[in-house]
Symmetry: C2
Subunit: 320 residues, 2 copies
């Protein structure tokens, strides 16, 4: 917990670009600190200035390498860049593995880049709630572009990707067939597909599969047609094309009016997630008590059905 | 929606093993039918009879093939088997891709096997809530073993795996290094690791990596030490060893008293998920209204911070 008088100082320093203050504010977000509402209130006026780019894909497709290369190109263009490497992590250990951070040391000495791993602390919905707050801190600290990198393409990751202005989905040849990509729901969330490791066998087939599936999708005129870009991030190849595709999407978002719509939907998701988080916290208080474990024992023994148990649990919950 | 008078008939027929009634009951679960509490109440007395086995792993490791082979071996042992292929699916299309079902047609003519794909309908937490209900239906229908196959190793999948008595985590050589496996939190949830496609290069390295990480983990005496089994499911090789490892884990669960503990924890998670689902549904009602969209527009514009917005949203929510 942070003493309340620290927050205005931290926010002021973060506004001036002090990396340690940014880091501390994001730690508050990650830890669900009681001072968060105060941080959010202080950051609210700076909301909506940064471009938020989501980057997701299955383990092994090269997300960290691609992120690293995108940072390089964006820095060359003069943008201040924030990176949030969001890690579903272990539900038990409560800590992020340092993999991403370790791999991205190239940029850590650059004062125009903030890099931060965040873990979910095992709370389902925790990432959806915390990520936009962390984005807000980075916006307040003057980042022009914020890359949110998520591991995997599960449900939680789809939700996080939906928090971005532009979502990149990374694929790699031989990582599973096209049906698997559709199964995970990535076809609908991707604004830009990046076929990474495009120098490997099977890259052309992956490219054709994705193009084929995009051709099947129904799209109204004026809708965005997802771009498919080939890259070899480890060699820096194709990264300019990825950045160009992001810019193109950004132009479309602005000219079509979708930027505003997306951001309002994002805010709605954020507010809902926070509200649910508060309810969940109250439920957690109940969980500590004997009510839930007693109900659970009855359900496990077949003496009570879970719906009836849920009703009894809710009866003990006060919302406000 | 199902007419209330249908439920007792469906349950009675499902108890007799009628596959169409089982299928209809699971559809009720999947669709969140209002008759579900009635179904759950009718199934409660049969709770806890089946052995529930979770099976998870990244796309492409061979989950469907392995499930198929496990069904074959379990059927040879005389067990009635239920399979739930849980599919995170698309948050937009609301329907499961038929991949798993298509691949598992070998067993569909066998009356001792129920096979069912379930989709999450895009609701975060929806799977956690629906899966145990579907398990309950299969228990009621007389299944001795229920395999719950989940795609990916994201947060939601970890949660689903925690609903099983025994969790198998499938890995394949070359699908990403050991650090990636730890990042996804599988080390903690696995009771049995299956290194599938063990005839491929790199299988020995994967085996050593996993054994090495297990050796690092702290474990009290009497704790279960996860088994690591090599298999080539596509050729039926090693599947007997997987079944043997499952049996060994089951014996340990019973002799150590962990079976009861796990099942009570499972019931607690189930009851919590149902209670949260009800709260979320009420929040969804709010979302339809103007309250949330008006709050979201203010948050997107930076006129209001999301915490203050969440407070205002919750003020409009009645729990009971």
């Amino acid at each position: 917990m942070t003493r309340s008088q620290d927050v205005p100082t931290l926010v002021a320093k973060a506004r001036e670009g002090d990396p340690r203050s940014v880091a501390r504010l994001i730690s508050l977000v990650e830890n669900g600190d009681p001072a968060l509402p105060e941080v959010a209130a202080a950051m609210a006026p700076y909301t909506g200035r940064a471009q938020v780019i989501g980057l997701t894909g299955a383990p092994g497709v090269g997300k960290s390498t691609t992120t690293n290369e995108l940072v390089r190109v964006l820095r060359e263009q003069g943008a201040r860049v924030g990176v949030l490497a969001v890690d579903p992590s272990s539900p038990f250990s409560g800590g992020a593995i340092l993999g991403d951070r370790v791999r991205m040391t190239e940029h850590t000495a650059d004062s125009g880049v903030y890099i931060r791993s965040m873990s979910s602390r095992g709370q389902l919905g925790g990432l959806s709630a915390a990520t936009p707050q962390a984005v807000r801190v980075l916006e307040g600290a003057g980042c022009d572009v914020i890359l949110v990198e998520t591991v995997g393409v599960g449900q939680a990751e789809v939700e996080i990707a939906s928090l971005a202005d532009t979502t990149l989905v990374l694929l790699a040849p031989g990582m599973g067939d096209a049906i698997q990509a559709v199964k995970a729901g990535v076809l609908e969330i991707a604004d830009v597909f990046v076929i990474n490791k495009a120098d490997r066998p099977g890259a052309d087939a992956t490219y054709r599969d994705i193009q084929g599936m995009l051709a099947l999708g129904e799209r109204a005129s004026g809708d965005w047609r997802p771009q498919v870009v080939r890259a070899v991030a480890a060699k820096g190849e194709g990264v300019d094309d990825v950045v160009a595709a992001i810019s193109k999407h950004r132009d479309w978002l602005e000219s079509s009016g979708n930027l505003r719509t997306r951001r309002e939907q994002r805010a709605a998701a954020e507010v809902s997630a926070l509200a649910l988080g508060r309810l969940r916290a109250r439920m957690g208080d109940l969980r500590e008590g004997t009510a839930l474990s007693s109900l659970a024992a009855q359900v496990a023994a077949g003496d009570l059905d879970p719906y009836a148990a849920a009703d009894r649990l809710l009866a003990g919950l006060e919302v406000s």
